[in-house]
């Protein structure tokens, strides 16, 4: 049983003695925001020298009992032995840790969460998912706009003609906006999912990723599921859908209509291999997959 638990409270580290009494503390960062940054990063940044010196000067027991794997690892990197506090130790330490004023606690919490979200949302994978969802949304908007404009009949002059001209300008602006967006999606998709982008095309690769939801989900997805990802269930009974997003994939148009279900099935099998290479092994497996894909397209075209 150690004599103390090293426990974070907001942006400070408290050394809480198990016997009770005063719990000395040290600020984690140079200022509140610096502390929030370290917490947001899960202590992957090194602890400040002052903090490490302070812990040593407290003649803390070794190994130190502490809560949270990130903090224990950071202590380990600083040369301080640490282990996970047991439930009982943690509960006792929490009861003894001096309370911070609510306002201070809240400001730290909000700052830390802002940092965390900033870090997480700026990651390549989250960027790709967000961009792809935006691309899908703008595509729908554009299609609606083009459809509405088709219905708009106008004489060659007068206020109705002016309105039509403005509406066309608006549609052109949305089209340009959409083209830029697709460019961004494709750039990020080629970087994050190089193999999958090669096999199904970067835009569809991004859509598949967004539909799966996150890295873990796409890395674990079975081919049969990926094949129908983004499809809607058919109304009534009968057979399920044959394809979802993959219907828009590369080379689908080269396959005769009657064979597209077969192609979707083969392509999905290749796509999961590509996705796993992208997310797990980070190897380049595009060339053999592409060769297989194109052989399959040729075979399906020769049938009949």
């Amino acid at each position: 049983m150690p004599a103390a638990v090293l426990l974070r409270g907001g942006g400070r580290l408290y050394l809480v003695p198990s016997s009770g009494g005063a719990a000395p503390s040290v600020p984690l960062g140079r200022d509140a925001d610096d502390g929030a940054r370290q917490v947001a990063a899960g202590f992957s940044v090194p602890l400040r020298d002052e903090v490490v010196r302070w812990i040593r000067s407290q003649r803390a027991p070794s190994p130190l009992a502490t809560a949270g794997a990130g903090l224990a690892e950071a202590l380990g990197r600083a040369g301080l032995a640490a282990r996970a506090a047991t439930e009982d130790e943690l509960r006792a330490a929490l009861a003894l840790r001096p309370p911070a004023p609510l306002r201070e606690e809240r400001e730290f919490r909000l700052a830390a969460l802002r940092r965390q979200l900033d870090l997480a949302l700026a990651s390549d994978t989250e960027t790709l998912i967000a961009l792809s969802r935006e691309e899908a949304r703008v595509e729908r908007a554009l299609r609606r706009e083009v459809g509405a404009l088709d219905q708009f009949l106008a004489p060659s002059s007068g206020p109705l003609a002016d309105q039509r001209e403005d509406a066309e300008r608006y549609r052109d602006a949305v089209e340009r906006h959409y083209a830029t967006l697709v460019g961004r999606v494709e750039t990020v998709a080629r970087r994050v999912l190089p193999n999958l982008s090669a096999v199904v095309g970067p835009r569809v690769a991004a859509r598949l990723f967004a539909a799966a939801g996150d890295v873990g989900a796409l890395a674990r997805i079975p081919a049969a599921r990926l094949q129908v990802l983004g499809s809607h269930r058919r109304p009534g009974g009968g057979h399920g859908p044959r394809f979802g997003l993959i219907y828009e994939a590369a080379r689908m148009v080269d396959v005769p209509e009657g064979a597209r279900g077969r192609y979707a099935r083969s392509l999905a099998a290749l796509a999961v291999v590509a996705a796993r290479a992208d997310l797990l092994t980070h190897r380049d497996v595009a060339a053999p997959l592409l060769a297989k894909r194109d052989r399959r397209v040729e075979a399906l075209r020769r049938r009949r």
Binding site: G10, V39, A84, A112
Partner: protein, 254 residues
Amino acid sequence: MRRSAGWRPFPDAPHLFVHDEAGGEALWTEALGDPPQVYGERVAESDDRVLRRWEAGRSKLSAAILRGYEGPIPAPSERWLYLGAASGTTASHVADLVGGDGTVYAVEKSLRPSVRLLRLAERYPNLLPILADARRPDEYAGDVSICDGLYVDIAQVDQVEIALANARRFLRRDGLVLLALKTASMGREKDPAGHLAEAKARLEAVLDLERPVALDPFHRRHYLLAGRPTPGLYRAPVTPASGSPGRRRVERRR
């Protein structure tokens, strides 16, 4: 707010009101945030207070109270740990119930709901958002304190074990656990009643349980379980709470 028109205070809950409406009784809480509206709910104002309608279809605790739950609920000045806050719909009402002198720690694991939770917390003085996995309570121990209550609404297979792991660490010895049990997330091997029985048996061993309340028709196949710790809670856990169990494999019937 017209005092005559079917409004009455909820017993022992100064921030909670009952309103007789065309479709039956509805709950309203005294809004702490500014602006008061959080998720599109109706808002009513009087000279001395602003109330928000606590939609039973959106919040399992509201549904439970309307369906006859008579046990304790979050009380003023209390500190609550809320697991599975999502974008803060129910969490904001719990924050209303504990009032300006209370605190709600709202834990949410997913990124996108957390963005909305942050926006909410920025205008809710007593709501502290935490981006973390409730399965790993040690990771956010530095952000919470010993709490008077634990509200769990996480729709995971192991939701009961997650609740107990958090209760053991963060709940006061005579604190209150409120668990919204979503049986649809617990696998298809058992029917809702079977899942309820299993959860009840597990919880009864370590908590002093109230009678479970079914949340139909507001939330189908959901139950609210409430209780206070018994000494058994602090004995060594029967099943170690470690890592995600993943999705449970379902046996195919022939």
